[in-house]
């Protein structure tokens, strides 16, 4: 079993999830996050900048130039691994909850 990984924050999880579909611009990620969360989660520009900087530092996403000035972000293999690890963790949590409540809640 690998080293225990810290749970991802909601913003990080949604950003990785959006990039799992295909590479996107920053604003494209913000819009997709709102769609996926039914408008419950909104990532502001300041939060987006900090989150993408941290994710690039971790090596989970990388940026590439798309056109004159705009940048696109894409998921790396390490990012895919982090995302699948988080999805597994969330599945286990839901399974444990179902065991206890019998799926009644």
């Amino acid at each position: 079993m690998g080293a225990k990984r810290e749970p991802l924050t909601e913003s990080y999880f949604y950003i990785l999830l959006c990039l799992h579909e295909h590479p996107r611009h920053g604003y494209g990620i913000m819009q997709r996050v709102q769609e996926l969360s039914d408008g419950h989660v909104r990532i502001g520009s300041g939060t987006m900048y900090g989150a993408t900087a941290n994710l690039m530092q971790k090596g989970w996403i990388k940026e590439r130039k798309a056109g004159e000035r705009r940048r696109e972000y894409e998921l790396t293999d390490a990012g895919e691994e982090a995302l699948s690890g988080e999805i597994d963790r969330l599945r286990h949590l839901v399974a444990a909850a179902d065991t206890v409540t019998g799926g009644a809640i």
């Binding site: 920053g26 502001g44 300041g46």
Partner: protein, 261 residues
């Protein structure tokens, strides 16, 4: 449509970020939109047909072009920047004009307000992590500034204390300035970074007021002393001149008159 501008003199107070933002928003509601901000003044442009919402952010040594691109994509436009360095005219500016890896800088953004859109659209930090990250950046900034101030005052104090003609008044003056700045910095750290409760902030507030009063008292005593010395000099100088003349005449004429030498 005629456009008018107005300029107001007011210091930029980043430790009251929300109050600054509220003021810009309030002015914008009245049709006056902030178009330029320097450390000491702000310029507004009048246009009653639009309304903006403002947001202030701080970043330190970062990729500015990527940062601005994200904001632009989200509908924000840059209304002003106040960097941590001075230019030749005494205004705060960014250190690096290439706009990449820019030094510490405050950014003022604005976005056109649409009452049909949710209020969350006008927030730039939307989770606890990014709010905490900004707080940590500010904490490091104020800590760095505090260390620099302490070091400078330590050097000044050493120079004054070990110099041959040291003045206790000057040392007291220095101590007052030093404690006043220290208390101000601590208050700043408490308010912006630690989000401290009121009592501790009040303690630092009264400490800085106390040492400001002490500083003024020392300056007034020093000034009175200097005025008295000048008056004494003025009163004594004619008498001293007479004594000099008398002594000169005695020394020059004396030997011949009394047959000395």
């Amino acid at each position: 449509m005629s456009k008018t501008t107005k300029t107001e003199k007011r210091r930029f107070m980043p430790w009251c970020r929300e109050a600054e933002q509220d003021q810009y928003n309030e002015e914008s509601r009245r049709g006056w939109h902030l178009s330029q901000r320097t450390f000491r003044s702000m310029t507004y442009e009048y246009d009653p047909d639009v309304e903006y919402r403002y947001a202030i952010d701080y970043r330190y040594w970062h990729d500015e072009s990527r940062y601005l691109e994200l904001f632009e994509e989200d509908g924000w436009e840059l209304a002003g920047t106040i960097g941590d360095a001075f230019d030749s005219a005494g205004r705060f500016v960014t250190l690096d004009s290439s706009r990449d890896n820019t030094a510490g800088c405050w950014y003022i953004f604005r976005k056109k307000y649409d009452p049909l859109r949710p209020e969350a659209e006008y927030e730039i930090a939307t989770d606890d992590e990014s709010i905490q990250a900004l707080r940590n950046t500010l904490k490091r900034k104020y800590q760095r500034e505090l260390v620099c101030e302490l070091f400078l005052f330590f050097l000044w104090g050493c120079n004054l204390f070990f110099s041959s003609g040291r003045s206790w008044f000057l040392i007291l003056l220095m101590a007052c300035v030093f404690t006043h700045i220290l208390a101000s910095s601590m208050r700043l750290l408490c308010v912006t970074v630690f989000q401290a409760r009121r009592p501790i902030t009040r303690v630092f507030h009264w400490l800085r007021v106390l040492f400001l009063i002490l500083l003024l008292l020392t300056v007034s005593v020093l000034a009175t002393d200097l005025v008295r010395a000048a008056q004494y000099e003025k009163a004594v100088s004619p008498v001293a001149a007479q004594v000099d003349t008398l002594a000169g005449s005695v020394l020059n004429g004396g030997p011949q008159e009394y047959g000395i030498g």
